[in-house]
Symmetry: D2
Subunit: 118 residues, 4 copies
């Protein structure tokens, strides 16, 4: 995710335009998108279900499997962005707020200020 | 996702530092993170499972439900980012490549160049 | 599930023998089987994700879709039985106990004794 | 699943009567039940997501965790049975047919007749 790559907001706009151009919006209800997101996450898990830890750690070394993994993470993010779009949710703000809450819920061991919360 | 909000790369770094500070990396194997991602996506779906389309479209009008929805989308993105981190996957590049492929796979009805692919 | 059909215990034994004959037991850990069960349940959901209620109610009228639905419910039950086998869980007793608890948790409207609990 | 325990058909009838007595049938569409099944399967997986193989193999030794596991397998079977009920699917026949197909698809190593297929 380098400084010169695509940004998340631009990708979200591409997805919205892509669906609109194909008249898919009637199918893209919050409930259907939540189901589709869950299905894609399970397809990602499917790649790993019978693998040992060692095999799972090496999935990106095989080009076909690496392609499949990248394809599934893309699908998960695509449905997550479209879900947030139809419900007007700011996904990055939601994650920032969740990390803030988790920093209170799971205090940093050893005390001190969490440098990641600055 | 306004221009002044948190950016995805910064949130991914916060998540990595958060897990490292709590010594959670041994648990954050690709397989475990894929399982956790799938579980969180199902928790998002759970909110919608018995709702009608009308009720599903109105979930953000109820503050408690809206909070729960934002919390679950944050969890999904958190595990997706951590999964990509441990496997060295550029999530945004993966999504951009997937949209490119989908533009070939599902041609724009009526022909013409897809303005979203410019 | 007529009186002359296969019974659940016999099917569970067939699954156990099938896996043993192929030396699949090392893969059939509780965690892997729980992941596989979740993946198969998502594959069943995938059939329905973009369907309207009307279309969803008619899936068994199309022979190809009907076959796919029967195939996925079989996979879900297969992994559920194998999961219970490796952990020594009596699946039917677990369900009977759960229904008993639900009858207390969700009292029958209008009062009276629930005839299904006799 | 001893000879004197509850049988699957009787449990399926109890579930149908339970839902009917509470007027839940309008919610029990095939699509909603497939979503609920998927959610319950993920809740079962959640118990295992951060466990090592050793910890996962010992879940039934802790009474609280054992209860949770039995509760989730019961929920999975409950929604699976209700799903099959509303679509008129014979679940046990579907599994028997699937095992038959798998015996052809994954031949028994070493040849010979599979004793489990007799």
């Amino acid at each position: 995710m380098g400084a010169n790559g695509p940004d998340l907001a631009a990708l979200q706009r591409r997805l919205t335009e892509f669906a609109a151009a194909r008249h898919w919006q009637p199918f893209h209800t919050p409930k259907n998108l939540a189901a589709a997101l869950s299905v894609e996450a399970a397809e990602l898990l499917e790649i790993f279900q019978w693998l040992t830890s060692e095999q799972a750690g090496a999935v990106m070394a095989d080009e076909d499997t690496a392609h499949r993994v990248r394809d599934e993470v893309a699908d998960v993010l695509a449905y997550l962005l479209q879900f947030c779009e139809v419900l007007g949710i700011d996904l990055l703000a939601a994650l920032a707020a969740k990390i803030d809450r988790n920093e209170l819920r799971f205090p940093r061991p050893g005390g001190g200020v969490d440098p990641s919360s600055g």
